[in-house]
């Protein structure tokens, strides 16, 4: 029997060799150049039950974020600050490598910590704006992200979906009566949230000593290191996250920083367009 090795078979059996045929030509198997991110699609407000929502697609990676707002009592230490509770889930439907909800706990908490650090430590959102009545009632925003398909670079998709959903939030007007009962004002106006700045991420990986932008899951798996750079629209560095892997030199780092900076404007525009379209 003659065995014919089709491209798909080689891709499955010797993925690295498969990639080594492409990368020196400056092109990737999905037709992109090495420094080209995938098509980014941002849409806002598709869920009617959430106070704010967004769907972000990076190629086939997609993340949906819904924000539910509830009223709660503020912490004694910060009587004027609202709260933000973030959770990221990689449900088993998003990838063949995750078979149970518990399989992705590690990735979930890693994404949660990274996004939470960016939102809270770089002061993206004024938590004081979520105050309803000093030391008695504040809004708590439950920000839940579900990755609907994991084809690499979940972090970028998740962060972008959270940001878009935050700009999309419509809080109802509420009042607190003498008995301290909070209720929604009927026919009242809605309040949206102002973000201080927009931290825009871009991820990279190094595969066969070549720098690839916005890697797919296959590329992530084969790569020797992956890292993410986050710049905001004011040109400040919000995060440079490289958990490990092979060492890189400073020139590559500079190059990546520039690429990220150049992309921020485009993405912020997409985000604003998505919100405009909903209005």
């Amino acid at each position: 029997m003659k065995l014919e090795a089709s491209a798909d078979v080689i891709r499955k059996l010797h993925p690295l060799e498969f990639y080594k045929r492409f990368l020196p030509e400056g092109i990737r198997p999905d037709g992109r150049n090495l420094n080209k991110p995938r098509v980014t699609v941002i849409s806002a407000g598709s869920l009617t039950t959430a106070e704010g929502s967004a769907l972000v697609k990076l190629g086939s990676t997609s993340a949906i974020c819904g924000i539910k707002a509830e009223v709660t009592i503020p912490a004694d230490t910060e009587p004027q600050c609202g709260k933000l509770v973030l959770s990221v889930e990689l449900p088993p439907l998003c990838s063949p490598n995750i078979q149970r909800w518990t399989d992705s706990v590690e990735q979930n908490s890693s994404l949660e910590v990274q996004i939470e650090d960016i939102l809270l430590k770089t002061n993206v959102l004024n938590l004081e704006a979520l105050c309803i009545k000093d030391s008695s009632a504040v809004w708590v925003l439950y920000v839940d992200v579900y990755i609907l398909e994991h084809d690499g670079n979940c972090f970028d998709a998740a962060l972008l979906s959270v940001l878009t959903a935050l700009t999309n939030v419509k809080l109802p007007e509420v009042e607190v009566n003498e008995e301290q009962i909070v209720s929604i004002v009927e026919g009242g106006s809605t309040q949206s949230l102002e973000l201080n700045h927009y931290p825009i991420p871009l991820s990279f990986c190094i595969l066969d000593d070549k720098l690839l932008v916005d890697p797919t899951s296959e590329e992530e798996e084969l790569s020797s290191t992956c890292f993410t750079i986050v710049y905001n629209n004011r040109g400040e560095l919000c995060s440079l996250y490289k958990p490990g892997g092979k060492h890189i030199n400073d020139d590559i780092l500079e190059e990546c920083k520039q690429t990220t900076l150049n992309r921020t404007e485009h993405i912020v525009k997409l985000m604003k367009q998505a919100n405009e379209a909903k209005k």
Binding site: L47, I67, I73, P92, S95, P96, Q180
Partner: protein, 247 residues
């Protein structure tokens, strides 16, 4: 200094119960007749990483579903394949925020498996398992029915051998009228909810759940309405598959 004590901190949800579910002209609140579905949208092949996937919208009820397999199982040897279903409602899917783990999801996972298992030719993949995962992104009533149909479409999209497509339909009694494909308001205030899964070509009911107060005499009427609904949905599913796969 004590902060003033708060009695209630949750915004009070205004009661959304309408005075009448069925108007004088015999139409429901959203203008549908008793046996009319909401606008339906179906698509397959959304999740490229999965073997098969599907997405269903029943107006605001949105369900995404993907199927993986047949793949290796760690369970004991079995000469028949297994079907594993997982049903989950996203925390932002309904008006009140949901907790992460709920018993209802487990229960519905089992209903979903029961509804789909019979339609799959399990003899074709011994020792292995097919996983079907459903995630409800928004729940505006009839989420289980939507998930069952979505699962069946995902299985078909994955190329798993099926005896028939499984259509599903819910029905509920409001204002002493039986209505199919209830919205979340109707579901909240109705009594005697039924969800029925049905294979139209073989004319077999694969799964039937009933909860609440249904009179014995009206049960048959309930089931008949559901089965009619299932037939309509199966046709729609078949069309969807044909247009997406026979391009």
């Amino acid at each position: 200094m004590y902060a003033p004590q708060i009695k209630s901190v949750r915004p009070l949800q205004q009661s959304d119960k309408p005075s009448k579910f069925i108007g004088d002209d015999g139409k429901r609140i959203d203008g549908r007749s008793l046996d009319e579905f909401r606008s339906v949208f179906m698509r397959t092949g959304m999740v490229k990483q999965a073997k098969g996937s599907a997405y269903i919208e029943l107006n605001n009820t949105k369900v995404i579903c993907s199927a993986y397999g047949p793949r290796q199982t760690n369970n004991e040897f079995s000469d028949k394949g297994m079907l594993n279903c997982d049903f989950k409602i996203a925390s932002f899917a309904s008006k009140q925020r949901r907790k992460k783990t709920r018993d209802e999801d487990k229960e519905f996972s089992i209903y979903m498996r029961d509804a789909l298992e019979i339609s799959v030719n399990l003899d074709k993949f011994p020792k292995s398992v097919v996983d079907v995962y459903a995630l409800v992104l928004e729940d505006d009533g009839s989420a289980l029915a939507a998930a069952i149909m979505c699962g069946s479409l995902a299985l078909a999209d994955a190329g798993i051998e099926l005896y028939d497509l499984v259509g599903a339909c819910s029905a509920i009694k409001v204002d002493s009228h039986i209505v199919i494909d209830p919205s979340s308001t109707e579901q909240k205030y109705g009594v005697g909810a039924i969800t029925c899964a049905h294979m139209s070509n073989l004319n077999e009911i694969t799964q039937l759940t009933e909860a609440g107060d249904v009179e014995y005499s009206t049960m048959v009427e309930f089931v008949n309405m559901c089965v009619d609904g299932c037939r309509k949905m199966s046709d729609k599913m078949r069309q969807t598959l044909a247009t997406e796969h026979l391009k």
